[in-house]
Structures are given as structure tokens and as C-alpha cells.
Subunit: 334 residues, 2 copies
Amino acid sequence: MDTPLGPGAEFDLIRAFLHSRGEAGRWLPPNVLVGPGDDCAVLRTAALAVSVDMSVEGVHFRREWLEPEEIGYRAAAAALSDLAAMAALPAGVLVAAAVPTRDAGDFMVRVMAGAREAAERAGTGILGGDLTRTDGPLVLDVLVLGDCPSPVTRRGAVPGDALWVTGELGAAAAAVSAWQRGRTPALAARTAFARPSPRLAEARWLAERGVLHALIDLSDGLAGDAGHLAAASGVRIMLETDSIPVHSAVLSASERPDDRLRLALAGGDDYELCFASPPGVVEPLRDEFVAQFGTGLTRVGSVSAGSGVSLRAADGSERELEFAGFDHFGPPQP
Amino acid sequence: MDTPLGPGAEFDLIRAFLHSRGEAGRWLPPNVLVGPGDDCAVLRTAALAVSVDMSVEGVHFRREWLEPEEIGYRAAAAALSDLAAMAALPAGVLVAAAVPTRDAGDFMVRVMAGAREAAERAGTGILGGDLTRTDGPLVLDVLVLGDCPSPVTRRGAVPGDALWVTGELGAAAAAVSAWQRGRTPALAARTAFARPSPRLAEARWLAERGVLHALIDLSDGLAGDAGHLAAASGVRIMLETDSIPVHSAVLSASERPDDRLRLALAGGDDYELCFASPPGVVEPLRDEFVAQFGTGLTRVGSVSAGSGVSLRAADGSERELEFAGFDHFGPPQP
């Protein structure tokens, strides 16, 4: 990219972010009227989805856990997952970073290379951003833009719907749990945390088939995110314990069923999709979905009139899930 | 706004941000398909300008200097200034915040009220954001969106053009300089720093009259930002010392001409416009501009073939401005 900034160390670093990808990576699609290096990026679009997601060192990750590229990849993938949650098509990424002075060299170039890789895997690229120093921890704020002619919100679930999730849950939380106990996580768990896969194509595939009443991505954990979906739709959600697709990395990380369930329900950072659909409409599509994406599709519960989220055990007993009660098991607190 | 989030302290705080404005403030214009509370905001638009601007406590401001509302106002106004720099019409603001735990109450509600006030003064509102804790300083990242059918970039200056700025320069830097020396800044200087006025209407007014070849906003200071404009346009810029509109608060803050010039040229945080126009086209508009906006319009230099930025003194002597040479006088280093 032609990046016409004036001289100075900050601008040298911005140029390094943009140029380290080589000629082949000069991503600037026809809908971008103005690319990086001006005061704003400008996009031509009909309806645009916009979200920001902030990653703070010591809160969302520790640098001892991750390679610099993974810090950037993870931050961008988590933000892109919000586009998946609207069934939007990625159209651009901006990255703002508050950087400790000692990191303002190769370390940050590698962080940004990871963010760029995540953007490119999602079919888009980095359109701009901001760079500042900080006396505190590294902070990345990733802004994502997506074409979104037909947004699928959290609001459309109705009583009678079935609740579904993609993939398997709890692996990223199992990695965090291992690190916090001074252990090395299983590779599958580590990868789930370091390089999550936002379900962008999967969400559009489901949206195109008209089966989505309401959609959210799992960032806080199924218990909390089902709570958001229930609140937005004005419905009650019942999850069934035996249906939760617990990731195999969780099974190997803990032998206690309660711990496993906590990681899968409230561990967070899954970046899978959770959606409500009319009963019976998803089952006929499941084999094709799994064949196309190599990702599972599991019915985990049902929607009824009321509010809140409950969990039904195999013996039929039911208990209310208080999201606040899950807080201390909740998002990683490194 | 109807903000259907699940239970939890974080979501209570988000609700407080959105609801503290009262019924009258439920800003959601017809071009917003999805407002706050879902995974993304969605806007209907033809061409959208996007920018992010990060404000870090201890780097861009100190909390001893500002009221909480001013911290938010300033961060949002600085970001909105990037829309002015494209002659874009504000269409939405998102705010991501990394918040020290002790601030996650009234303090942050007041910060966000300030950000919202700046957005509303610009004719728009807060569409969403992200909220996380941090063990470090407060970090605000403000994302601005603007309708921008005809972007004015930094690239169009050509030899022969005149270089102009709006307003007066150096007042915000004079405030920072006073605080750093343990003094109380003059009210005008303090206001310039705490509540800058992004020149949104001014930029569109000038753009509509077809006089803008290239446009940038002054955030780093005229010396540095003229350098960006020169680099982007592939031209040389000469500034004339005697033409620089030095703010009266700078004159009262220092008696040394060199100090005054440094504050006006390299102090930063002015958030005025700097633009290149064909010779003679701005002069006939100046009276109307000043009458309409109450803001000055001053020719500060000229554009020629070459590269870089130079400064010509009243005696005709000329010296090259090395942006790096201004770094240590440069952006506020609280």
C-alpha cells in the first residue's frame, strides 16, 4: 500500500505494519474509496455492520502464553466473530494499539502481522488504525466492518424455537485454566485460545438458508450469551446438560463433571455461534453443514415464554443459571 | 434506547452509559438498522468514512487536569476531528474503554456522558462499544463513522496552491505546558484542551464550495501535519512565520517568541483544519466563513514542487522543519 505519512518513529512503525506483507498483500478492494494513510478510511457500502473489541494484556491474555502474532490474531479473530454474529461479510478491519515503549519495534510488527493474517483469512484486510504509547499494559482495540444487507440480531427468538451451537465448547477456557495452574495446555486447547476461528462463512450459510431467528457469538460463554439472547428476544432458554458439546480438550483437562461443565458453559472465548431456529428446520441441513465446514452443529436447548436461562440435568432436574454466579469462573482472569 | 443485555455488573454499567441521557436523548436515526446492544451496530449508507482515535491516561491527558466528562468529551472530539478532515458528516460513534476497576462506576458514567455530549454536538450519538477492565491506565478508543460521498483526502495539493488553517493555534499546548510547570492554565487554553471543537461544519462548507485540493486536521501540530499533507500530495510546503495565527492564550503563556512558535507549530491538539486551495479562491469566501462560524481563516503558506516542510522568517531566511526535531516539544507528554 502507498502510505504517505510524514517522517517520525511512530509513522515508521505504521509503515512497517502496512508494508511487511509484501506486494502480494496489497489488499484494497474496489469498495474502498480511501485506504490507509489518510485521516479516515472510506468504504462504499449499502449497509455496514460495525463493532469494536478491546484486548487488554493481563485481562484477556498474558504475553507469556502467546507468541506476538497470536496476540494480534486472537484480538482480530475475536472482533471478527462479532461480524459472524450478525451474518455479515467482512469489509475491513482497523486496529488501534496502546503500546508500551519497549514493544514499539519488532514485537508490535509481529502482533500486527497476526492481526493482518486473521483479517486476510476472513477475506479482508487492515484499513487503518491508531498507534500510541502507554505506560500500562498493551491494549489492542480492533474495529471490524462488514457488509450486512440482512442483519440477524439477537432479538428474533420465539417460544418453541430450538437453540443450537456450532463446534465444541470450553477448549479455550481449558487452556487458560491450565496456564493459571502452571501447566502446559493441550495443543488443541492452546490453539482454540490463540487462534480462534470466527464462524463467518458458517453464519452466512445458515442465514442464506433462512433458518436463523436470532444469532449471537459465544464470547462470554454459553450461559452468559444465552442470557443476552434471551433478554434481547424476551424469552426463556432451557439448556440441556447432556447436549452441551464439550470439547475433548476439556475432557482431558479435568475429570470432574462440574469443572467440565463450567468450562463449557462459562469459560468463554469459544467464538462459536449460538442461534435460535424453528423446530425441525436445522436437522435436515446438519450433514451438509458438517461436511462443508468440518464443524459440529448441536441442538443444546429450547426456547419458551418467560425470561432467564435454566439448565436441565439428565435426571430431569432443572436449575436457574445466574450469570453473576458464574462470574468468578467466567472470562479468563489471568 | 432499549438495551437488551443479560444481567451482570459490566452490563449494568453499559446500561448506565446508554440510559443516563433520559428519554429525549434516545438517538437512533433512520439510517441505523441496528443500534446498541447487539453484536454490531448496522448502518445504511452509501460511502462511509471510518477512523479510530485512542486516548491513554498519562499520555494524552492526566486525570488531575480534567473533569471526567472532559476526558470523554476530548477523546470523542479528537476522533470526530478525523471526520472533519475528510469533510464527512458524522453518522455514529462507538467507544471502547479499558477501565481501572476503581473507575467502573460514577467516574466512567461521567466520562461516557462527556463522550456522548461531543457526539451529540456533532449531530450524532453513541452506537455501541466495548468495556473491559485493565490493571493499567484508563484507555478510551473512539471509533467515528461518517457519511462521506465525496472524501477530501490529504493527496490533492499541487504546486502553486495556498495553504490555509482555521482558527488559532497552540492554545491546547499552552494549557499542557502550564500544567507541566505546575501552573493553572488560562481558561481559554484549558477549554481548548478539554473541549476542542472539531471543525465538521466548517470542512463541509469549504468542500461544498469546491475550494479544497487537500485537507488534514491538526492533531500533531501544524509542522507535523503539514508534513503529512506534503508527503501524501508529493509536494513541498513553505510556512511563513509571521502568518501563523498564534492563539492569544499562547501569547499570554510565554514571552519568548521561540516558545510561542513551538507551541503553535508543534504543540498539537489544535483540531483545526489545514488545507491546500488554488491561489485566490479562498480570500473571497473568508468574510462569510468568519461570520458564519466565528472562526478565523488564515493563509499560512504555499505549496511548491519538491518535498518536506520549511519555515520562512520575516527576514526572508528559510529553514527546513524536521518533524523529528520537534518531537520533544511535540505532542503532550504529561
